[in-house]
């Protein structure tokens, strides 16, 4: 029964790989931190990071889906914010201060997104497919493995640096996409307020 609550399944199956006993972590160990998601995930990452054979870790139902759900939600929120931010600030792209602010904030959101998606794919990758949902999610694995190579969730300094670089580059890409309809625009913030004033008064 206890095994069903384990967040990391360390049981040997007929085709499982060798398990490093030092990396065994039961759900009871991390339960006090479970309310604080970030700490739990940190602990999970530390545990996985200490393991010499990470593929042996199987996160059991239903706990693994709580992680998946949390990471998916954070990914969706981050991507949405990045898109929203790109769309909102694209009007001000010729204003240098707004451009820098936009880039910084977008880069942060994209960074979180990439790490979150990489983590989701990591969890999917290192768990055997046991249901149709698993099999469906495994479809992400092929492309996800490429992303994982670039942004390893172990967060060593190299992969972190690569992720930061990719985040900044992706933010530039957001600006290209959202600024494309506005190329040729020449105005400052004051003119924009004046135009909004005119249109507001036409409405009334």
């Amino acid at each position: 029964m206890n095994n069903t609550n384990d967040i990391l399944d360390t049981q040997h199956s007929s085709n499982s790989r060798t398990v490093n006993d030092e990396s065994v972590c039961s759900f009871d160990d991390i339960q006090p931190f479970f309310d604080d998601q970030s700490r739990v995930i940190s602990k999970l990452l530390i545990t996985l990071g200490n393991d010499s054979s990470p593929k042996s870790k199987h996160i059991q139902h239903p706990r693994r889906y709580k992680f998946l759900r949390s990471w998916l939600i954070s990914s969706i929120i981050s991507v949405s914010f990045a898109v929203f931010w790109g769309a909102t600030l694209s009007n001000y792209v010729y204003d240098t201060a707004f451009l820098i602010l936009s880039l910084c904030i977008e880069a942060a959101f994209v960074y979180i997104s990439i790490k979150s998606i990489a983590m989701v794919i990591y969890i999917i990758r290192h768990n055997p497919a046991t249901s149709s949902l698993d099999r469906m999610l495994d479809c992400l694995d092929v492309t996800g493995s490429r992303l994982l190579v670039l942004t390893n969730p172990y967060s060593d300094s190299d992969s972190m640096l690569r992720t930061i670089l990719l985040s900044i580059a992706a933010s530039f890409a957001f600006l290209i996409v959202f600024n494309a309809p506005y190329t040729g625009t020449v105005h400052d913030t004051e003119s924009k307020w004046q135009l909004m004033y005119i249109i507001d008064n036409l409405n009334t």
Binding site: V93, V149, L150, D158, R162, L165, L166, I168, A169, A170, F172, A173, L175, I176, N179, A180, P181, Y182, T183, G184, T185, V186, H187, D188, S191, K192, Q194, L195, Y197, I198, I199, N201, L202, N203
Partner: protein, 159 residues
Amino acid sequence: MMRRGKHTYNLFIWLLTIFACVVLAGGTLGVVLWPRTQGSEIYQHYAKISNVKASFFKSYQVGDSVFIDVTMLESTDSAGWETLKNDFGIKPLDDIINQAINNGEDLISIKTMPKFHDGRFAHDSNEVKDVVAVSRKFHLVSVFHVKNNEEKMRFYSTT
């Protein structure tokens, strides 16, 4: 042997990351720095006049569904306002309305005008006229460059 292979693989991943970054960042810089004709003809005309401040908005969103190019002209002194009044045929107002404007009220009038070509408003029966809004208080002229009658109708219904 294994170590050298891993080292090569890491180098490859780094090169791939840098290549992706250079392509994305280079593309953005290219878009920003590429020389292009900015603004409308009317914007380019008034950008050269010292006492008129010209601005141009590409695909400005009005309401939910109308995306329209707008040229904004603001006179920076009385001579500039006289230029705009002459060019756009802005008629003088009654004393009562002038007094109200002097007391801080504003009057925004709207009219249609032929499109601006080759330094003048050239009437062409095949072209849809632009919509011009004038703020008497702030000495502002906004030219909404409508592309066709359907867009003009949607613009009117939004405003």
